[in-house]
Subunit: 226 residues, 2 copies
């Protein structure tokens, strides 16, 4: 059987790719990456490096147009800056509503696009690197378990049972993902999680904070912060 | 509240748009249409005519690239012809698997794209013209009630409760949709359902057969067949 992996170039999805390659062999794995109009293409560059490292077919999609009318702070046309605070503090300000870096239904769109590609390429499984910490409270509702359950049902039923959505880390936290990835020898120095571009991660955006902490909990230092 | 409607330019989605305009007023309704590499753009032209008729904002997306590796017979690059038989006969040949006009996870992708647009435009509801006959056995699994339930959950949960998927015809059949649309005075002469382009519908593809029958059950003749 063949498997597709939704690959952002970040820590979680790169670990997920490593897991799929471990299970299926690189010749049976396809990576799917999506550009959606981010402020930088650093993560996309990293997805290419990771796909090259694992020697898997890499399909890149450009869905920029879909977010043309969104003012999410991650997007290049946005008038808002990317917040430099913890998600808790951001959620206090939004009164529990999605934060400014929430891209409207992004993960639903990514999974649906990847499902379409996966079916076209004859894959029976679609891997997705979501984990327990991803929703960050309700900062990112399209990372919640309830969202995942809905998408898993939609993809299985909507493909007539031909495609199954798999999230091997759904009951793990980010530190667990780093542990699994370290065992699988994922080249984390090739990945990128920071919301900003540049040569080095900013270290203070929500995703940087979470990544640094996940390595710390494993007694490791993020190779990008060395 | 504002509402978005997924509009193909066919009979069902045009009726759905009419219903949304009836409920919300045209100034609060946005129509979203998707080009995905079909063999003809007749349906897209009709979606524009219908959106113009109802005087609603119309957002068109092009997702052609996503289906580049699919050989679905509806796509312009496909090597397969569009079948001219009933869905029952087609399903006999495919042994119950999706038929050759099934576009891989198309409706999941369309709904996800429309959800992203709807949220960006500040809509609280997304209307979708699916009805009970749509799945045509298992010909189109991404029209099944189970698929719809999964997507509805994914969209509600994945938007943090900001967006609700509504399918006002989900428990109706196509003849019921024509009845509702006739009451709402939907200009069916501006819609297009046939899988082929041309000046007049072919009358023999699966979707033509279903449409003609839905009008017949209401004691009407499809205005396109006059």
């Amino acid at each position: 059987m063949k498997a597709a992996v939704l690959l952002s170039g970040g820590l979680d999805s790169s670990t997920c790719l490593a897991q799929a390659v471990f299970e299926y062999g690189n010749e049976n794995v396809i990576a799917v990456s999506v550009f959606y109009g981010q402020k930088h293409i650093k993560e996309m560059d990293c997805s290419k490096k990771i796909a090259d490292y694992y020697n898997v077919k890499h399909i890149c999609l450009n869905l920029t147009d879909i977010f043309k009318s969104s003012n999410c702070s991650l997007l290049s046309h946005s008038t808002e800056d990317i917040p430099k605070e913890t998600y808790e503090k951001q959620l206090e300000k939004t009164e529990g509503k999605p934060v400014s870096t929430y891209v409207p239904f992004r993960n639903g769109l990514f999974l649906s696009s990847a499902a379409a590609v996966a079916l076209s390429e004859g894959c029976g499984a679609l891997y997705y690197g979501a984990h327990r910490d991803d929703a960050a409270g309700n900062a990112y509702p399209d990372c919640s378990e309830a969202f995942f359950a809905g998408m898993a049902k939609a993809i299985y039923e909507g493909s007539g049972g031909l495609l199954t959505l798999k999230a091997p880390f759904i009951d793990k936290n980010k530190a667990d993902v780093v542990r699994v990835g370290t065992e699988l020898k994922v080249p984390y120095e090739l990945t990128w999680s920071c919301y900003e571009g540049g040569d080095k991660p900013c270290g203070v955006c929500g995703t940087c904070r979470d990544r640094i902490e996940a390595f710390r909990q494993n007694g490791l230092t993020d190779p990008l912060m060395k």
